[in-house]
Symmetry: C2
Subunit: 250 residues, 2 copies
């Protein structure tokens, strides 16, 4: 059974301030918890219904994960999900290590993606298209926000990220590499032969890529429009661009 202190601790992790202070975050729901138990993340505590625990002892035994059995009511009270009849994990955050796209590798750069749902969706899309590295501006939503983790549908266990000064990154680390950026009025991606390696910058939901970052974009690209919608959601645009990138390489 969960102690009062445990409940208070878990609830504190809903907030970024306490996630940073404790170096821990929450993973909720059957599928995501199963994925994190099989990943290289360190799980500090598993809070699970008896049924979930029994079905997944193989996974908890592997890491000798500390387990507390809880009711559905406790899971929903301590976690952020409206309904959770399975489990919740308290997981160690990872060190914020710099990333570089290797040869024959595509990496994403996110310039101020504010919505946690969009960031989670982008992580899931990256995982579908085999993108392993996401470089985030410091103003991008916190990847450890429970909404990001939940929207990523377990893909957060397979994708790496780094938060930092993306302007400096583009200036120094990405020098000499092709940097694609999603803009209106760029080259039609249906007609473009993408490079095997490089970066794709996606911009803020309302304002797109900022001018300071835009100056480092070496190739502006656009998804052709056949109707009248003003724009596409940034997650949708990321998927269509990565799909065209992969398609142009085959």
């Amino acid at each position: 059974m969960l102690s009062k202190n445990q409940i208070k601790y878990i609830q504190s992790l809903h907030q970024k301030k306490y996630r940073q202070q404790h170096g821990a975050f929450l993973v909720e729901g059957a599928k995501s918890v199963q994925e994190v138990l099989q990943s290289d993340f360190q799980v500090d505590l598993l809070v699970a219904t008896e049924a979930f625990y029994k079905e997944n002892t193989r996974l908890t035994d592997r890491q000798r994960t500390p387990v507390e059995i809880a009711s559905v009511a406790d899971l929903e009270r301590t976690g952020t999900l409206e309904s959770n009849n399975a489990a919740l994990a308290v997981v160690r955050t990872k060190e914020n290590r710099p990333l570089l796209a290797g040869p024959d590798e595509i990496a994403l750069i996110l310039d101020d993606i504010r919505d946690p749902g969009n960031l989670g969706t982008i992580i899931r899309i990256a995982d579908w298209y085999g993108i392993r590295k996401i470089i985030c501006s410091e103003t991008t939503a916190d990847v450890y926000n429970p909404k990001v983790i939940s929207a990523s549908k377990g893909s957060f266990t397979r994708v790496n990220w780094w938060y930092g000064d993306i302007e400096q990154f583009l200036k120094q680390s990405a020098k000499g590499q092709i940097v694609y950026g999603a803009f209106l009025g760029g080259d039609d991606v249906h007609a473009l032969a993408f490079s095997k390696s490089g970066y794709l910058v996606m911009g803020n939901e309302s304002n797109g890529i900022s001018p300071e970052i835009g100056q480092y974009v070496t190739k502006r690209v656009t998804i052709p429009r056949y109707g009248e919608a003003e724009s596409l959601n940034v997650g949708i645009a990321t998927a269509v661009l990565l799909d065209n990138w992969r398609r142009s390489l085959t």
Copy 2:
């Protein structure tokens, strides 16, 4: 100023039952309200802040729309949006008229898309890719749900829909036409030459296309996966498929 009865009436339109009973639905927020005022939808009532009204009299005069001036607090109390500092419109629903894809036309068929956010996103994507017709199973989310209208970002004014028995539709009305359907293990869309006309069926968020509908799919198609995510969200998949469809025709 809004009367008590007007407030009660507007609030009742949050629910499908009352939307159907009154033949009316809500459009909220500056952008969506501006779009609906310029569309062929009949606006019964505009509830607007004085600032919004003054900036948009050109639009309200055009249709001689009845207007009530309201505070931001009133807009948020009567509507469904957490924040709305502009306007809300009470709009007539349209007749549920059958649709058919014409020659050289692509239409969407939605088999049990339950999430209002997904449906709204699909309408926006359809509008981007110039798709004018969406045929919805009766179990698909109600297009007049405020969450659908809001997620469509105004595109609901440019796309038509019909709700009905999609199995009967496929059996009779779509006979002889190519019916594409998103399945795992279908033909790779990166290598496929799509037909100029036909239908694309998208299935339920958890279960995909149902077996009863699947039997009418004449071409199973798949978005190739390069990483490990188990699936893509149905809105994302719709965008990538329509993008490949358009690309293969150019």
